[in-house]
């Protein structure tokens, strides 16, 4: 377990900027179905730091709510998926991460993004069952693409928002 905390004065403005970018910029510059979720990446980066407070879950809740307002489908799905992914990431980092920048960070982020995408695809399949399985290859690439984005971003993000607790 890492004894660290999130720099809120950096994290909160960063989160708001990322949220607005996700709603406006990001969907325009990526092809359909290949949109990386930079807000989720930031939240996962935040959750790997074992914060004593539960702020990260409230941040995840807030972001999920905004996502649900701006996206279609059933209200509450983004909220639940994001919260589950952040909790999985928090839980795994709590028991596995002994030092911040290690292989385990890659494993945790990869697993969390997999959880996020698998639940998303499951929910999509309820609505458009045939298309999901018809385009299984494409959905596989979406996951790989998001994991690559995640791995590229997770280290700098974690570095930016991390500070060690001084006893």
């Amino acid at each position: 377990m890492i004894n660290g905390k999130i720099k809120n004065y950096i994290f909160i403005p960063l989160l708001i900027v990322f949220l607005i970018l996700q709603i406006t910029f990001i969907p325009q510059y990526f092809p359909d179905n290949f949109i990386p979720n930079i807000v989720l990446m930031l939240l996962l980066a935040g959750s790997v730091i074992n914060n004593k407070s539960s702020n990260i879950f409230y941040f995840a809740f807030f972001c999920g709510f905004i996502f649900d307002v701006f996206s279609g489908g059933y209200f509450g799905t983004a909220l639940v998926i994001i919260l589950i992914s952040v909790f999985v990431s928090y839980y795994l980092s709590h028991i596995l991460l002994k030092e911040l920048f290690s292989y385990n960070l890659l494993l945790i982020s990869t697993f969390s993004i997999l959880v996020y995408n698998i639940i998303s695809i499951f929910l999509v399949s309820i609505n458009d069952f045939q298309q999901v399985f018809y385009n299984a290859e494409q959905f596989f690439f979406i996951i790989i693409f998001q994991i690559v984005c995640m791995l590229v971003l997770i280290y700098p993000l974690t570095y930016i928002i991390f500070s060690k607790n001084e006893k």
Binding site: Q28, F57, F75, L79, Y134
Partner: protein, 298 residues
């Protein structure tokens, strides 16, 4: 390699329920589980409130608060788009010019031949007089220009937000049209100051339509991966590649003659009741910045 393999094994071992049981003894995890449980209860409550319509004011407030910042981002996004488009277009300018001239001639011929030219002309005229209303055969059409202020942030939905709402006369079911009379979607949720448009490429979207030349009636549905599809076409109806697909006007709030796309591939099997076709759209839905909301009334 062995070290990495060990790490992977430890990683997956830790996911087992036994490990979770051991960790439940840990106070930190218990606290976090309690927080998550509390948040899940709140989510369930929010879902109920949303279904009852009590959240609409909150949603409207959120969009209202975010929209000024979004507009700034959208404007900068437009400038960046224009910049890249200019660079991109320099290389292809000559070829594009020839292609566009040919396309223009062909479209001009088709338009002069077809009945829907009246609706098309009205759409083009409206681009120069936004507030003007028009009536024909007792059916009036009103056009309202709106800015796109938000886009679906997730991978699996195809929605956009505009800056017009109930107070501007926007209602659920009205159609949204891009420049050139191209149908892009319909209003699915209208708030006080903003509205949500479901794009026609969303899998939940279905629009009653006809092909312009052969007059085959069918339903255009969206899809996550393949774009648009024209379905439910009778085997006896004729389909032609490159034929325009337009709205049929059967739906109460969507006028007849709005352009959806052009038939690309025809899928026809003798053992199936209906045939279908893939549709090529003329617009990049991700880049739409302004839309017209069409109000049809008697």
């Amino acid at each position: 390699m062995k070290k990495l393999l060990n790490r992977v094994i430890v990683f997956f071992q830790s996911i087992f329920l036994f490990q979770i049981y051991l960790d439940i003894m840990n106070k930190d995890i218990i606290k976090k589980i309690q927080v998550n449980f509390f948040l899940l209860v709140v989510i369930v409550l929010l879902i109920f409130l949303n279904n009852s319509g009590y959240l609409n004011k909150t949603k409207n407030l959120i969009v209202l608060l975010i929209s000024p910042v979004e507009k700034i981002f959208q404007t900068s996004s437009k400038n960046i788009n224009d910049f890249f488009y200019t660079i991109e277009s320099i290389n292809n300018l000559k070829n594009q010019n020839i292609e566009l001239k040919n396309e223009n001639l062909r479209l001009g011929y088709e338009i002069s031949e077809l009945k829907e030219v009246q609706i098309e002309n009205k759409i083009l005229r409206k681009h120069f007089a936004f507030s003007e209303n028009s009536c024909d055969d007792g059916i009036c059409i009103e056009w309202k220009l709106a800015d796109v202020i938000g886009r679906d942030p997730s991978n699996f939905g195809k929605y956009i937000f505009i800056d017009l709402g109930i107070k501007d006369g926007i209602q659920e079911g009205q159609s949204a049209v891009a420049s050139g009379g191209l149908l892009i979607g319909k209003i699915v949720e209208a708030y006080e100051n903003s509205s949500k448009i479901m794009l026609i490429t969303d899998p939940s979207s279905s629009i009653n339509s006809i092909t312009q030349t052969s007059r085959a009636n069918g339903i255009v549905t969206g899809s996550y991966a393949t774009g648009l599809k024209l379905e439910m076409i009778n085997q006896s109806d004729e389909l032609m590649v490159d034929d325009l697909v337009i709205t049929s006007g059967i739906e109460e709030k969507i006028p007849k003659g709005l352009i959806i796309g052009r038939i690309m591939n025809i899928e026809e099997f003798a053992n199936q009741v209906f045939k279908s076709a893939e549709i090529n759209v003329f617009i990049d839905f991700n880049r739409v910045e302004k839309v017209f909301i069409v109000r049809k009334y008697d």
